[in-house]
């Protein structure tokens, strides 16, 4: 069907063969998709890349190429790398927070174990005293020096 040219062949102003490598991934109703990819990678480079991978992976590859091309067009200097940088920062922040919480948990468990050791002989009789101690201690927020 002559009017069924894919977006790639339409852009290149050529006939779209029946075995066109681009046609499954660049439908004619979405010319922007091929335009982005063509602008950053070039038609021949995309074709070579698609030829070198299994057919079942090509759709995913075109999707990722399109996303990277879009990011690069929006930000010619950093492209998708700025998103990676942001994610690294998020990861570092979350790891820091996690470390602090783990340290606090370790501290609390230490305190509880020390209290239990202190009151071991009378644990059964004075369980209520231990709980009272823990309550008093926790409400005073006496954290060690290395806890902010």
């Amino acid at each position: 069907m002559i009017s069924g040219r894919c977006a790639a062949c339409k852009s290149q102003r050529r006939k779209c063969p029946s075995d066109c490598i681009f046609s499954p991934y660049f439908p004619p109703n979405d010319p922007q998709r091929f335009a982005c990819v063509h602008r950053i990678y070039g038609c021949s480079n995309v074709g070579k890349m698609l030829q070198q991978m299994p057919v079942q992976m090509r759709a995913q590859a075109v999707d990722t190429l399109y996303m990277e091309a879009r990011w690069r067009i929006e930000d010619p200097v950093y492209g998708c790398v700025k998103l990676i940088s942001q994610l690294h920062q998020n990861l570092n922040d979350t790891e820091s927070e996690l470390a602090k919480v783990k340290a606090l948990i370790a501290f609390h468990k230490l305190q509880i174990s020390q209290v239990n050791e202190l009151h071991q002989p009378d644990l059964d009789a004075s369980q209520s005293n231990v709980e009272q101690f823990q309550f008093n201690y926790s409400t005073q927020n006496h954290y060690p020096w290395f806890i902010n």
Binding site: D63, M67, E74, Y78, I84, L98, A99, I105, A106
Partner: protein, 257 residues
């Protein structure tokens, strides 16, 4: 904003980043053709746009990747539309993307993005759980119930969906002013990409490798003290380090807006 334009990004970067000389737009001078012209086997003109960023020694290797993925003319057009003081950063990111694409022809950089997103989600889930656990320790409550299985150990079959990736416009408004390219060259990060990439070949995410797995409970009291201090010293110093500084000074650039 200033870029660290005097830094020299050498070829020994770990597979990412261009091999650049310091400033100067000269090409084909006493040092011979630049890496790009050497690869293309053409005469390096005095105003060669690639010369400042691809030296003749290892620049050719990096340019080979860039040429294979993007093409020399496309990269040239890209650089021409970028101010001169930002071209170094652009070359670094272009080299990074090109080499990521060669390593993983199907997903390229997007694999890294997905892996990082998954790590962040896993860590945030762990953080939420531990914060709840901390709350129970701080209050006079009966012993907590056995913890639910953490999501870290459960492989989540997730198909790679473009919808999961944030679209273009929100990125520009929510990013910090400085972009730390040094993290691109972090070997720890690069190794952590490998596992999720292979898992993504099977359309599945494996367990996160980025979360610290430090046992903090039980044991001798002195061990807990040492452990708590070690955790805070390790993570507190890493989080307070500025994005501009990079320990791998010979192989990375730091950017600022």
């Amino acid at each position: 904003m200033s870029t660290n334009s005097t830094s020299t990004v050498t070829g020994g970067v770990g597979g990412a980043g261009g091999s650049c000389g310091g400033g100067g737009g000269s090409g084909g001078g006493g040092g011979g053709p630049c890496g790009a012209c050497k690869f293309l086997r053409r005469k390096c003109a005095p105003g060669c746009i690639f010369a400042p960023y691809f030296d003749s020694e290892q620049g050719a290797t990096h340019f080979a990747a860039v040429h294979k993925v993007f093409g020399a003319s496309n990269v040239s057009k890209l650089l021409l539309n970028i101010p001169v003081h930002k071209r170094l950063d652009a070359v670094v990111t272009i080299c990074f993307e090109a080499e990521a694409r060669l390593r993983d022809p199907v997903y390229g950089c997007v694999a890294n993005i997905f892996a990082l997103q998954q790590q962040v989600v896993n860590l945030q889930a762990e953080l939420s759980y531990l914060q709840g656990h901390l709350a129970t320790l701080e209050l006079p409550q009966p012993p907590p119930l056995p913890p639910p299985p953490l999501p870290l150990a459960v492989p989540t079959p997730t198909t790679l969906s473009i919808g999961n990736i944030p679209s273009g416009t929100p990125i520009t408004s929510s990013l910090p002013g400085t972009y730390d390219l040094s993290s691109l060259f972090d070997p720890m990060v690069q190794t952590s990409w490998a596992l999720p990439q292979r898992a993504m070949d099977l359309r599945q995410y494996g367990p996160s490798t980025g979360s610290p797995s430090v046992g903090g409970g039980g044991g001798d009291g002195s061990d807990l003290h040492v452990l708590a201090r070690e955790l805070l010293n390790r993570h507190g110093s890493s989080s307070s380090s500025t994005p501009m500084a990079c320990s791998k000074a010979s192989s990375s650039t730091s950017l600022s807006k």
